[in-house]
């Protein structure tokens, strides 16, 4: 093995090259650590490019009343008070600096008339808050960070004669296993997709920034890379996954034609004035404003329409409710028989603004519908429906350093959990990436500095095992049938993947029931067995069948965590809706469900852990009447007795 293996040694390894990974890598390198970025795709292709709407940051450029405190409150409301409050606080406070920093890297945001960064309205945000570039903000973020890394490499070329002296990108490389030395991480083992050759990265600190898990679902806005690799790698390395039951179904994905089903239709369409109607032409969202939000949304269409021009004196239209509410509302309309021909609802801008304005504000959406669906959105409504979009749950981290339960292992971006509670607000993802990406870079750098010369080492036995596991699909045997008879042929990984997506979409999707989740867990067990017998043909060079067979294991691990947590949580909150427990229950608000491996086994176990308490000074930002909707009576007594609470740790 060792003779065939390429080895590299770094201070910090970043796995994933989306917004969080790149920002983390920039920080680690600027802190003086020799840093490598490992990514499954080419550099600059990460899923972040798909983000459309913008980056939430309370710069107050469009409405000077905005502040980090308002952003804090909006994010906590959006997450239904299950968020890690320290993460929400750091995020709200630091997002403006991170956005301004992007301008120093060369980003070109849309501008206000006085030349500042323009900010747009979005669901759940009280003020116009999203810095944006038309409807391609994620591409701007990726390109800006990519170009910043190139500029750091140009510095290194001048200083050392080697552009990759202190920061290097290893593209089209998949990590299959983290390797440990005792309790701490010691490296990452993987293969080059191009050649199939194995490679080991030895490093005392690893930052996981692999994004989400959408490819376990049939209808998703996520790209092929979103196979839950980071979630699964961290779980297997001994880290905790929290809040995995909370999956965000974005309310507006394309639904027709079938081949584009799931592709995102940006929330900016609604932020800029688009409305949702059912097949009867009725603007149905007014019927779906839940009690907790009733005071903050318009009661009539007229008021909602006036809000776009006069936000001081009117309330926002309910099309701009948080995503979980809108997705459920669309689901209900379709179920009640008021859906469109292809099983969605209409999202219309054509009757709301002139064609020229639509093309200017939503150019990518205009092109997307014209080129993929033959629909001109300046003259016709779009047909939309919910699509699996974002996992709120993820690796449990320390809010300040992004460190996990495993020494040396850090996580940031979508793969981490806690920041968004039970539901993420649109625009809070891109800001999450740069706020916590930077913090993970700082955290990892500080960890490496503190280690000094005591570097962990990788054992040969672990390498042997990792290599053997990665090659298993080439030697897979047919699975014996229940009666002992040998099946005619080994499993096809594409078939197992398709069935997994069907199970998760049908049984652990947007609306969940006990019986169905139990059935899903049984099916996942049988799929897991079949996946072990998934065989691939041919060679190791750029072999997509082999890649999928390896990714399948991650998708199955993560899907089991989602299903187990979904079964356990007996309430409906944010991205978790139980038909048999339809109420949001204050007794569940304070509970995080934590998935972890029983040591020495492959068994995923679920435990309850309290959600960190909200500091009294942060709690004081809310009206008591609002808190009463979310909290239990004992929790509320803290408000009456702030002295006692001050002694508690936040």
């Amino acid at each position: 093995m060792s003779s065939l293996l390429e080895r590299h040694s770094y201070d910090v390894i970043v796995i994933g090259a989306g917004g969080a990974g790149l920002r983390a890598a920039i920080e680690a390198r600027e802190q003086g650590q020799k840093t490598a970025i490992l990514c499954k795709s080419l550099f600059g292709k990460a899923h972040t490019v798909m983000a459309e709407g913008g980056i939430a940051a309370s710069m107050g450029n469009v409405n000077s009343k905005d502040s980090w405190q308002v952003h804090f409150c909006d994010s906590l409301r959006g997450g239904k008070f299950l968020n890690n409050p320290r993460m929400v606080e750091l995020h709200a406070k630091e997002a403006p600096d991170r956005v301004w920093e992007l301008e120093t890297y060369g980003a070109l945001f849309d501008r206000t008339p006085d030349g500042k960064i323009s900010q747009r309205n979005f669901g759940g945000h009280e003020y116009p808050r999203l810095a944006h570039v038309g409807d391609r903000t994620g591409l701007e973020l990726i390109r800006t960070l990519q170009q910043k890394i190139v500029s750091l490499q140009q510095e290194d070329l001048r200083e050392f004669g080697d552009a990759e002296a202190r920061i290097k990108v290893f593209a089209e490389l998949t990590v299959t296993e983290l390797v440990k030395d005792g309790d701490a991480v010691a490296g990452a083992f993987g293969y080059y997709r191009e050649t199939g050759n194995f490679v080991l990265f030895e490093a005392p600190a690893i930052i996981m920034a692999t994004g989400g898990i959408g490819k376990s679902f049939k209808v998703t806005s996520n790209s092929w890379e979103y196979t839950g690799d980071g979630h699964a790698l961290c779980l297997r390395a001994g880290a905790n996954l929290i809040n995995m039951e909370f999956m965000q179904f974005h309310p507006t994905g394309m639904i027709w034609p079938p081949s584009v089903k799931g592709i995102l239709v940006t929330e900016s369409v609604r932020g800029d004035g688009g409305i949702l109607t059912n097949v009867e032409g009725k603007r149905f969202m007014f019927n779906y404003v839940p009690d907790v939000f009733r005071g903050q949304y318009a009661k009539t269409e007229e008021e909602g329409d006036r809000w776009y021009d006069d936000q001081e004196n009117n309330k926002r239209p309910p099309e701009l409710l948080p995503r979980d509410e809108v997705a459920r509302a669309i689901n209900s309309e379709v179920k009640a028989g008021r859906g469109t021909e292809h099983g969605g609802v209409y999202l219309d801008v054509s009757t709301r603004m002139p064609a020229e304005v639509i093309k200017k504000k939503l150019p990518a959406m205009h092109a997307q519908f014209l080129e993929l669906a033959d629909v001109d959105i300046t003259t016709h409504p779009m047909e939309v429906g919910p699509t699996a979009h974002y996992i709120m749950g993820g690796v449990e981290v320390d809010p300040d350093t992004e460190g996990t339960a495993v020494p040396g292992l850090f996580a940031c971006g979508e793969v981490s959990g806690g920041m968004h509670g039970s539901n993420r607000l649109g625009g809070n993802s891109l800001s999450d990436l740069i706020v916590f990406g930077r913090r993970a870079g700082l955290g990892a750098a500080a960890y490496v500095s503190a280690l000094g010369e005591k570097r962990p080492t990788v054992s040969e036995a672990d390498l042997e095992a990792a290599g053997k596991a990665a090659l298993a699909p080439f030697h897979a045997e047919p699975q014996p049938g229940p009666d002992g008879a040998v099946a005619p042929a080994p499993e096809n990984p594409y078939t197992v993947h398709t069935e997994l997506q069907q199970v998760m979409s049908d049984l652990v999707g947007i609306i969940r029931r006990e019986g169905e989740i139990t059935e899903a867990l049984q099916k996942l067990q049988s799929l897991r067995k079949r996946a072990e017998h998934a065989a691939v043909e041919g060679h190791r060079q750029f072999n997509p069948g082999w890649h999928l067979a390896l990714d399948l294991r991650n998708m199955l691990d993560v899907s089991e965590c989602v299903a187990k947590a979904a079964l356990e949580r007996h309430e409906s909150r944010g991205g978790h809706t139980r038909e048999d427990f339809p109420i949001m229950d204050p007794n569940w608000r304070g509970v995080n469900l934590v998935a972890h491996l029983v040591p020495g086994t492959n068994t995923i176990e679920l435990t309850h852990k309290p959600v960190p308490t909200i500091r009294p000074d942060l709690l004081a930002l809310f009206d008591r009447s609002e808190l009463e909707k979310y909290m239990t009576a004992p929790e509320l007594t803290v408000l009456d007795n702030p002295q006692a609470a001050a002694g508690e740790k936040a």
Binding site: L42, F43, K45, H47, V49, M50, M59, P96, D97, W100, E101, E103, T104, Y105, G106, L108, F109, D110, R111, D114, G115, K116, V133, G134, L139, Q147, K148, V150, S151, Q153, Q154, L157, A163, E194, S223, P257, P258, S259, V260, I263, L264, A364, A367, Q368, E371, L372, A373, N492, P493, Y494, T495, T498, V536, E537, H539, Q541, F542, N543, P544, G545
Partner: protein, 251 residues
């Protein structure tokens, strides 16, 4: 609305290969990438193809369809007649890795040669002020999804490997234009760099790049021609030459 369609797909590696014939089901509303995926899932599990977003936003699935540089995810099957045999080949300008996957490292090397954005001195983060009208010129070029189809089609390098050293290709000429037109970039030498290091003079504005750009960026008209004009201005206008020497920058 399903039908069976005939395809010729190039299979092979750096040592050579051939067009292979396949017959694959095609359904209503599908794009070519859907069909390639079906081919992988049912007949050719080891067929190598790059893709990511399947929505025309990441620029990964670049290939040549009936000889034309295209994104597989944005090539709708209803643009062909059902009887037509669709030929899919890898991008010709870059070395083959396997099947439809090529080695595009040329582009990353060129990207690294262009001096990065140079922030304005003495302007603190948060104090950047730019007019929308002024940022729009550069924003057009920042729409680029780096699919490298323009690099693939450009005849300066398409069948002339020997030009690759001296010529950065359309993608990086728009990067030069983007930086040159950035209202706050403080590097005054973008045009000279485009002339001396990026080989802008080799471009004879046939606009092939503009034609294949999936983002409809007017590469030739809005980036390359203005950059060529700047090169000429700076070279022959003594006042511009003097201004650049004493630090007056008027981009």
């Amino acid at each position: 609305m399903s039908y069976k369609s005939k395809f010729k797909v190039w299979r092979g590696d750096a040592d050579g290969g051939d067009l292979n014939d396949y017959t694959v089901d095609v359904n209503e509303g599908e794009v070519l990438l859907d069909v390639i995926h079906r081919l992988q899932a049912t007949q050719a599990p080891d067929l190598a193809v790059r893709w990511n977003c399947k929505a025309g936003k990441c620029g990964s699935c670049s290939a040549e369809v009936n000889g034309k540089p295209s994104l597989l995810c944005m090539t709708r099957m209803n643009t062909f007649v059902p009887e037509e045999t669709v030929t899919v080949t890898p991008m010709r300008t870059f070395p083959i890795i396997r099947d439809l996957v090529t080695d595009v490292s040329f582009n990353y090397e060129k990207a690294r040669q262009i001096p990065a954005f140079s922030p304005p001195k003495g302007v603190a983060p948060g104090d950047y002020r730019m007019k929308q009208l002024d940022v729009e010129r550069s924003q057009e070029f920042r729409k680029c999804i780096e699919c490298f189809l323009c690099q693939d089609v450009c005849h300066v390098v398409r069948d002339h490997d020997d030009n690759k050293k001296a010529f950065s290709g359309p993608r990086f000429l728009i990067r030069a234009a983007e930086l040159s037109m950035h209202p706050l970039d403080s590097n005054p030498d973008r045009a000279e760099f485009a002339r001396d290091e990026q080989g802008i003079g080799l471009c004879n504005i046939t606009k092939c790049c503009t034609e294949v750009c999936p983002e409809h960026i007017k590469i030739t008209d809005n980036a390359i021609i203005p950059m060529k004009e700047r090169v000429v201005d700076k070279k022959y206008d003594p006042l511009v030459w003097l201004g650049s020497k004493i630090g007056i920058h008027h981009d």
